[in-house]
Symmetry: C2
Subunit: 348 residues, 2 copies
């Protein structure tokens, strides 16, 4: 027995295209092995154009067209729907929110969330904004309506930092979290250890596409702070936003700092932390000298990692990619499969 | 709404006592947060004695009595049931198999498995024998009867190596697995790097309780080979036993080997590996020189780790304890909570 899920994609950039590749390559297998069929029935992208096709869109055709023309406007299913109209009118069971991230307001994604939940759609997102800023409100709204919100991709892309904690570690109490949650800064620090100056390392990161033209969000720790807020809210019952996270970036680290750490068998890492003492949860992002014996010390390049300190297992560390087209596309698939796995429990 | 699960424990050694501690300390919370109540209704231990109490046994009283008298024979619920009689007659929904491991025959645990499934009980085990040797038969037997077998604790104790792969990585194809799956040998190698001879490191491991009086099972790689077979069978669809795993232990490594690896920025680790090429799955345990940049290289002391090479995420590594009273007790709890989570799907 196959269950079909109709997906409305808000945004068809790197992540949306990664998801389309995965559905193209794995669609038949997912149907065979999991009994789940995921069909893209609508796309709303302010730059690439909008599509609506209740019978479903062919992922290969979408990818070909974007590759060839840079947009979807010439597609037979093209329409003039914006994101809100798409949420309200698409033939969709799940809205996949992949619009741009705003860590100050969480918009427009948060409005998309509220509207999709009102309409009775599940939501999957890779957008940190709504989860870092409005997690509790959105989770309650979803629960009231027996809907699921999936947000695995907001912390370490497809590396299952959240799902591991909520499923595989279920029953453990997590008292502290430490993580390398930003690949750009970790890449820069790794390059500095190999002898590069901060400026040269940043330029190389920009050349490789790890860092943006304005690197502030990464190097000043804003991106990591949003992820710390998500970890604190989802896994430790906190209600904090990115602004509540004590924050220091990597821009003040000098080659001397790097060398001095090395001479003491340690290594600078930009560490996002959450810890709980009693009812109080505190959160920070700051460069820390990690002893080489710590699992986070050996995480190099654009890789991410998180260590959960638990009551029954002590420290458990997960290391994996923190970005990438397929990795983030997998985060979406992972949330879709979770919705599928829970369908009988939530009586879809 | 609370669902009660009555547990018959086969074996009340370190793991059984760890589980009793966890149920004592977390019982109320598990009921509150998960709606699951786990009650020990029977124990069969050939050394400590057997108990049967359909109304449930108090974990604290069990722990007190074992701590005080070394056995359970004076308990009001004492009886003369052996393991098989307990499986057949205890008031139980789940049989928790924690008897000793035999990697040649898988007995007596495999017989316990078949008997418990025939009777209609779910099974949770920390015993590598039946899963390394008879996984496919037992999984099919369970599936036919709509029963669950849980075996998280057979690979990295409570560190969720299996559950992470089957739930949090669901949808990913795993093409290769590499792991540090034996804490004793990893401790010995770590000590040798700090300058100890093999003999001194082994003695220290024995003193700390990491290694047994006869260390063969650990140092010759038999324990790791069984875990490799479990990973291959459960996660890669293989049908192999420990004897099919190419195996070399750590006993031939010399201080010169250790030093030579160090001078080339690498480190010896006893690595269990599984890889797939087409339909062919090959498995091995052998000392390997891991470059210091590999996440497994920095795993030191009695810690375990596993790296999954996947199609969508590349390498994902999980690091955590591979043994311990609470860690292995948690493995059992984790499987029990999984049975609980799946109860509506399997129509318990």
């Amino acid at each position: 027995m196959t269950t079909t899920y109709r997906l409305a994609l808000l945004g068809f950039g790197v992540v949306g295209q990664g998801l389309a590749e995965i559905l193209r390559d794995k669609g038949a297998q997912l149907e065979r092995e999991h009994g789940a069929r995921f069909v893209i029935t609508a796309i709303a992208d302010p730059l690439k154009g909008s599509l609506s096709a209740p019978e479903g869109l062919d992922p290969q055709e979408l990818l070909d067209r974007v590759g060839r023309e840079g947009n979807l406007r010439g597609h037979a299913a093209a329409c003039d729907w914006d994101a809100l109209h798409t949420i309200d009118h698409a033939a969709a069971d799940v809205v996949v929110e992949m619009t741009y991230t705003d860590l100050k307001t969480g918009e427009p994604a948060t409005t998309h969330f509220r509207r999709a939940l009102q309409r009775g759609c599940h939501i999957v997102t890779t957008n940190k904004g709504p989860i870092a800023l409005h997690y509790r409100e959105l989770a309650e709204l979803a629960a009231q309506r027996n809907l699921i919100i999936g947000y695995e991709g907001t912390v370490m892309s497809g590396t299952p930092s959240l799902r591991m904690a909520t499923t595989a570690l279920r029953g453990c109490a997590i008292s502290a979290i430490s993580g390398i949650l930003n690949g750009t800064t970790n890449y820069i620090l790794t390059q500095m250890e190999a002898g590069a100056t901060y400026e040269a390392a940043l330029q190389e990161a920009q050349r490789l596409g790890y860092a943006e033209a304005d690197p502030t969000g990464d190097v000043e720790g804003h991106d990591a702070a949003a992820k710390v807020a998500i970890l604190a809210n989802v896994l430790m019952g906190a209600s904090i936003g990115p602004a509540d996270v004590e924050r220091e970036g990597i821009t003040r680290l000098t080659p001397q700092d790097i060398e001095s750490a090395r001479s003491e068998n340690s290594r600078w890492k930009l560490i996002g932390s959450v810890s709980r003492e009693g009812e109080r949860v505190s959160a920070s992002v700051r460069p820390q000298r990690m002893p080489l014996t710590h699992p986070l010390a050996s995480v190099s390049g654009p890789i991410n990692a998180v260590t959960y300190t638990t009551d029954m297992l002590g420290d458990v560390t997960l290391v994996g990619p923190g970005a990438g087209k397929l990795a983030t596309g997998f985060a979406v698939l992972s949330d879709l499969l979770d919705i599928h796995a829970r369908r009988r429990v939530i009586r879809l």
